[in-house]
């Protein structure tokens, strides 16, 4: 149990340090790669909390798909690769730090005072039970989410493709 705690604290420390790097680095690609590490460490934390299915979904969807989408977005919008001093709005830095710091202290004060107790980690897999619950009691939201994904797919294609009619009008 002692080693388990040490590993957890180590993961939490790394999680915060990589998240700090996501928002402070002046290199666009480094920010995306740091987000990969943040998500991977979150997945490790979920594994430590014995919720293995969510950990795998996080790796598949976030690290597999979302980060690739982000890298495409960075390349297509021609954000200057390498160090870039223009990435941050320096006027907002103090205000942003003040707001973020106050939110952090408020949240941690409420959470630390409101909840206490220890988590008992049960061994064994919960994936089978999760699948049964997801497809029995939560089957309606499950299907609804699939429609949302379809709508997002169609909307994304419609937004991102070049409008042929508009181009013709401009040429005339």
């Amino acid at each position: 149990m002692e080693i388990f705690e040490i590993v957890t604290y180590f993961v939490l420390l790394l999680l915060v340090s990589t998240a700090v790097r996501v928002v402070t680095t002046s290199n666009v690609i480094h920010a995306a790669i740091s987000l990969v590490f943040t998500l991977a460490l979150t997945s490790v934390l979920f594994l430590l909390l014995s919720t293995e299915f969510v950990a795998l979904v996080l790796v598949l969807v976030y690290i597999g798909a979302v980060i690739v989408l982000f890298l495409f977005g960075i390349m297509i919008t021609r954000a200057p690769l390498g160090k870039n001093a223009e990435l941050d709005n320096d006027k907002n830095k103090k205000l942003g730090a003040a707001i973020a710091g106050s939110i952090f202290f408020l949240f941690s004060y409420i959470l630390v005072n409101g909840f206490e107790g220890e988590v008992v980690i049960t061994s064994g897999s919960s994936t089978e039970l999760l699948g049964e619950i997801l497809l029995s009691r939560f089957v309606f939201p499950f299907e609804l989410v699939s429609f949302v994904l379809l709508a997002a797919l169609i909307g994304g294609i419609t937004l991102a493709r070049k409008d042929e009619a508009l181009i013709d009008e401009e040429q005339v």
Binding site: L12, L35, L39, F46, F53, N89
Partner: protein, 101 residues
């Protein structure tokens, strides 16, 4: 395992995301910060799910839904950023001031 350190780390991730949204100039970087916020909410959901040992596992199920919606949000968000870049030749959000009075 004690609950509070994980909750404090989740709060830290949330406030770092807020900081990123307020400070970043590039629209893609703002979307990255939104991912950080969603991730902190996921950590909270999983933590409370394990802490309360919920029979229906609603924390895990909501986390899966959040991940799905976040994937859709990133797709739409990047499509919008792409449209803005195509029309204005820049992805800096402080230059999108056409509707500012």
């Amino acid at each position: 395992m004690i609950v509070q350190p994980v909750l404090v780390v989740a709060a830290a991730l949330f406030s770092l995301g807020i900081y990123g949204i307020l400070v970043r100039r590039n629209a893609v970087m703002v979307l990255l910060s939104i991912e950080l916020i969603l991730n902190s909410v996921n950590i909270n959901f999983i933590m409370f799910d394990t802490m309360l040992a919920d029979v229906l596992m609603q924390g895990q199920i909501f986390t899966i839904f959040i991940i799905t919606i976040a994937a859709a949000e990133v797709g739409i968000g990047l499509a919008i950023v792409l449209m803005l870049f195509r029309n204005r030749q820049t992805a800096n959000i402080n230059e999108f001031d056409l509707m500012k009075w």
